[in-house]
């Protein structure tokens, strides 16, 4: 079972729907017991980084325990940003700090939010992006983005290059919305299901 962590960060029915379409067994939950019993954990989310407060207060322990046990973990959008040390969007709210650096707003010279389809520059060897071509299009909607780090496996350009996807062992994060990125997104989610 894949636990989709519900922490009040927007509408997560599309994430659930996409996994169900792929035949995966999923449960939307904010129950630490359910998260602890899951084989895989997904932290989706859209909206403000301060929503991660709830995640930090109530669900940090079971989620981090799952990561420690090596269970496949996928953070989407704000869920990916949470994997970093924090975000300038909510300076008082720490992230999980599994990746170094802080998320920050797009520079003033580009329109923000970054909404729409953009291409990803895919690094070789990613398990999450297996089969996805360099230059594939994915759907974004966000104002803040994560910096490039050694674990960056895909990047996009908008007001400079940023991390589109990060990956280390079984910890994965994507800034774009795979559940809204057509066949490319479904392929990514299928890769995650098959881990």
């Amino acid at each position: 079972m894949i636990a989709i962590v519900d922490y009040g960060a927007g509408n997560i029915s599309s994430v659930k729907k996409a996994f169900e379409h792929l035949g995966a067994s999923v449960q939307v939950t904010s129950d630490p017991v359910v998260i602890a019993s899951a084989e895989k954990v997904v932290v989706p989310g859209v909206g403000h980084f301060n929503r991660c407060e709830f995640l930090n207060e109530r669900l940090r322990l079971p989620v981090m325990e799952a990561v420690k046990q090596g269970k496949p973990f996928l953070g989407i959008c704000v869920g990916m940003q949470w994997l970093f040390a924090g975000s300038t969007e909510a300076p008082g709210t720490p992230g999980a700090a599994l990746f170094a650096g802080e998320c920050s707003r797009f520079p003033a010279e580009v329109k923000s939010p970054h909404v729409g389809w953009n291409q990803i520059d895919v690094r070789e060897g990613s398990r999450l992006l297996r089969g996805i071509e360099n230059g594939a299009f994915v759907y974004y909607t966000h104002c803040y983005r994560a910096p490039l780090v050694p674990e960056t496996v895909a990047s996009s350009g908008y007001g400079g290059e940023f991390s589109a996807a990060v990956e280390r062992d079984n910890v994965f994060g994507v800034q774009f919305h795979p559940e809204k990125s057509g066949d490319t997104g479904l392929m990514l989610l299928e890769n995650f299901c098959e881990l």
Binding site: S13, V46, G116, G157, D183, G185
Partner: protein, 260 residues
Amino acid sequence: MNSERLTKRIIACLDVDGGRVVKGVKFQELRDAGDPAELARTHAAAGADEIVLLDITATSGERQTLIEIVGRTARQLFIPFTVGGGIRTLDDAARVFDAGADKVSINSAAIAGPELISNIANRFGSQAVVVAIDGKRGQQSPAEAEVFVAGGRKSTGRKVVDWAKEAESRGAGEILLTSMDRDGTGIGFDCELTASVAGTVSIPVIASGGAGNVQHFQDVFSEGKADAALAASIFHFGTHAVAELKQTLLHAGIPMRWPC
């Protein structure tokens, strides 16, 4: 690979009446064009970047039908999906999101009570709120364009540009701007009006109303500074319409998601 390549979006709009997609010119001669879920899938497969489902059902008693259609459409759709028409409260919006929509489009209700914008944005995020503006300016300058509600029948006395700015400050994630002057004419988008709104707000502007041929799309992206363009009737010409449109625009230098 070009490193700054956010593409312009082509959005297919399905006008739904009583559970069926209808097409017509200037809201007249409505004609059955098919099942919403099926058509949404067809447009997505043909290359549409996004689907908007607009409920134009006159009677409010059929809301449940809409929710079922949204659910059925969303289940097979893995690109962004917006639902509009008759959303007056946060609860209305919540039901549409629960059924599987990614964004809601609000129009008259936002004018009547602008706090609806922030209420939805606070709960579901700004990215989920599209404020639709129907503007009309006749022979006047874009700055004079006025906001109309109730399907374009009622003037509000408000300027389009001011309302767009207010909608943004209240938490709208995108503006869907329809030119009442051009809607249904097929003579092209109102590029001047679109550019004036796009130059005022920093959120994306979706242009609507007047699409008749490929050149119109090219114009609204280059001159009109639109981030996306929406059209209904042009896509009913056939399933190849979107694909051909995108390829032509790509060759004209407009960044497009292609191949999809």
